[in-house]
């Protein structure tokens, strides 16, 4: 035989465990799964916790003849919590099965029974339908509670289980969208009675020992809610993973659209790089031959970041490439591109562009700027800013006009163009890298360095400056060094 005091103590402890489990679950739902307090599942868990707590309190004060009124209150509150819990459980599962109830059904089968319970409990000291606390303070459950109330509660619990069984067997084709949930509900339906039965088997040897449905129901509920939440979480994660995969492909497409085959020609040397701050960025560089004697250089920065900027970048890049190949000066090309971009620009995005066209045979570089950073040129042995004429960024206003700037490159001269990610790289104290530091970094590079080394050195200087501060903006650079016309072209000309 089990000692009755030990069994009672154990029973109370189990109630606390059940309560804690539900409490943790409730907390997890709020914090991890970001559910609201007035969500069905949260309300159900709250009523479950209340049910366990009230059963606990009722048990503690049971048999105290001086606390008869408190016993009444606790027992009745427990009954109300129990039926609310059962109703919410039922509604929660119907909701998970994707079933919507009509308002009238909701009132008759859900609200009314709860209201009736409240009335019955409030009147029970006189009617003795639910409970009766005898003169020793012992709470007695009465006939109506045992035979009607309990059965109604069980109906709430078991009807979704039957529904789950239906979805698992003959109703397979009508299985709700949440495919795994019927199985979870069914397992829940198996766990709860099993635990209850074990409890009866091991604890209920003497009639005086308490038995409870709160514990098995709570434990089984932990299984159910965790299962359903995890299932939802996995589904969300699958979506997030798909999005991430899309973004990766997007980055690949974007990076793939930038030329990385740096031509190996005797007349010039070119190198460019782009490091996006996010997976997909809005910066780009481009270079291509317009015709046999003309090389186009492009560097551009789209306002904003992420997918919208990347899409805008792709279309701008293609427009510029198309229109440069059609011919005209950089200013004319930018004007045409701007008109096109403005036509379909509902998102009020814009892109700053520097477009240069180098005549390889003469070294004449014609460029136009649509609100882009000043180019840095080296025509005298030192890098310095070229204050070219600035037009409005592309996409801002369709009437924008642009002006050409012309410079003459001699043998050994070079040009460095970049995006604001370089000059506006920011350290932890919000200080900008700035144009002066950019110039210093360029002038520190030993003469004869390759264009790739030039770009790597600038990048290193930026990294050393910002240190641990996160990269804010895309970092894009393009460097070109002119070696003069090909010998045989010169002889042909003369």
């Amino acid at each position: 035989m089990i000692d009755q005091a030990v069994a009672n103590g154990l029973y109370l402890e189990l109630l606390v465990v059940a309560m804690t489990l539900l409490g943790i679950l409730f907390f997890n739902n709020l914090v991890l799964y970001k559910q609201k307090v007035f969500d069905l599942i949260s309300l159900m868990l709250i009523s479950g916790i209340a049910m366990c707590a009230l059963e606990f309190a009722w048990t503690v004060f049971d048999g105290r003849s001086d606390l008869i009124i408190l016993s009444y209150i606790l027992a009745c509150a427990y009954a109300v919590a129990l039926i609310i819990f059962a109703v919410l459980f039922n509604l929660y599962l119907l909701d998970r099965f994707g079933m919507k109830l009509k308002k009238i059904v909701l009132i008759i089968f859900y609200v009314l029974p709860v209201a009736a319970t409240v009335v019955l409990c409030a009147t029970t000291p006189w009617t003795r339908l639910m409970f009766w606390v005898d003169e020793n303070g012992n709470v007695q459950t009465m006939a109506f509670f045992e035979s009607v109330f309990h059965i109604i509660v069980y109906l709430y619990f078991f009807s979704p289980l039957l529904l789950a069984l239906y979805f698992l067997t003959i109703g397979k084709k009508r299985k709700p969208a949440n495919g795994e949930i019927p199985l979870s509900v069914f397992v829940f339906g198996a766990i709860a009675p099993l635990l209850y039965w074990l409890q009866l088997l091991f604890l209920d040897r003497g009639a005086a020992i308490y038995e409870t449905s709160s514990i098995p129901v709570s434990v089984a509920l932990v299984y159910l809610v965790t299962n359903v939440s995890t299932h939802n979480l996995l589904k969300t994660r699958a979506k997030v993973e798909a999005t991430e995969a899309d973004l990766r492909v997007g980055t690949e497409i974007q990076t793939g659209s930038l030329p990385t085959n740096f031509p190996d020609r005797p007349e010039f040397e070119i190198y460019a790089s782009m490091d996006p701050a996010k997976e997909v960025g809005g910066d780009f560089y481009d270079f291509f031959m317009v015709d046999e004697d003309h090389l186009a250089l492009v560097i551009a920065d789209v306002s904003g970041k992420g997918v919208p900027a990347a899409l805008f970048m792709m279309s701008s890049k293609i427009y510029i490439n198309d229109h440069a190949t059609m011919g005209g000066t950089p200013a004319e090309i930018l004007e045409r591109v701007n008109k096109l971009v403005c036509k379909n620009n509902d998102a009020s995005m814009f892109v700053t562009v520097w477009l240069g066209i180098l005549e390889i045979s003469t070294g004449r570089l014609t460029s136009a700027s649509a609100g882009h950073e000043y180019p840095i040129i080296n025509t005298s042995g030192r890098y310095e800013i070229l204050k070219d004429v600035h037009g409005l960024a592309i996409g801002a206003m369709d009437m924008a006009r642009y002006k050409n700037t012309e410079i003459q490159l001699k043998k050994g001269d070079s040009i460095f163009v970049y995006t604001d990610g370089v000059a506006e790289a920011t350290d932890a104290n919000n200080e900008l890298f700035g144009t002066d530091r950019t110039l210093d970094a360029l002038n520190d590079i030993p003469e004869g360095a390759s264009q790739k080394e030039v770009l790597v050195n600038v990048r290193t200087a930026v990294d050393a400056f910002v240190k641990e501060a996160p990269q804010f903006d895309d970092l894009t650079m393009l460097g070109l060094k002119y070696y003069g016309p090909r010998e045989n072209t010169q002889t042909e000309e003369t």
Binding site: S303, G304, S348, Y374, A393
Partner: protein
């Protein structure tokens, strides 16, 4: 949940260089003035955009006072451009009291040609 969320946001903004933007909105009839202080960049511009979007429908005039604005990035310019475009047919948009760093960026990007600067 509320506590948790707030805490997270704070650490996030700390990690991006104490980036901050204070927006003071005032209304005079159908004229709305936004006093901006701090940095208008990728991280802070969505806040300004949502504040502008709230009022743009019944505004006749939008004023951006940039006296205390230290820095504006292309994302910030985009919000200003969007406001200018929204006001194009039904009123005006004015940028007021710009500081030298902001003026430099306006000159660089050519927006000095587009905006009504007072």
């Amino acid at each position: 949940m509320g506590l948790f969320g707030k805490k997270k946001n704070n650490t996030a903004s700390n990690s991006v260089n104490n980036a901050f933007l204070k927006i003071k909105t005032s209304k005079d009839g159908a004229e709305y003035t936004f006093m901006l202080e701090g940095r208008l960049d990728t991280n802070t511009s969505p806040e300004l955009k949502s504040k502008v979007d709230e009022v743009v429908d019944d505004a006749k005039k939008l004023v951006f006072d940039l006296e205390k604005l230290d820095y504006i990035s292309s994302a910030g310019l985009r919000v200003l451009l969007g406001s200018a475009q929204a006001m194009e047919d039904k009123g005006e948009m004015v940028v007021r009291n710009i500081t030298q760093p902001v003026r430099d960026i306006f000159d660089l990007t050519g927006f000095n040609l587009l905006f009504n600067i007072e």
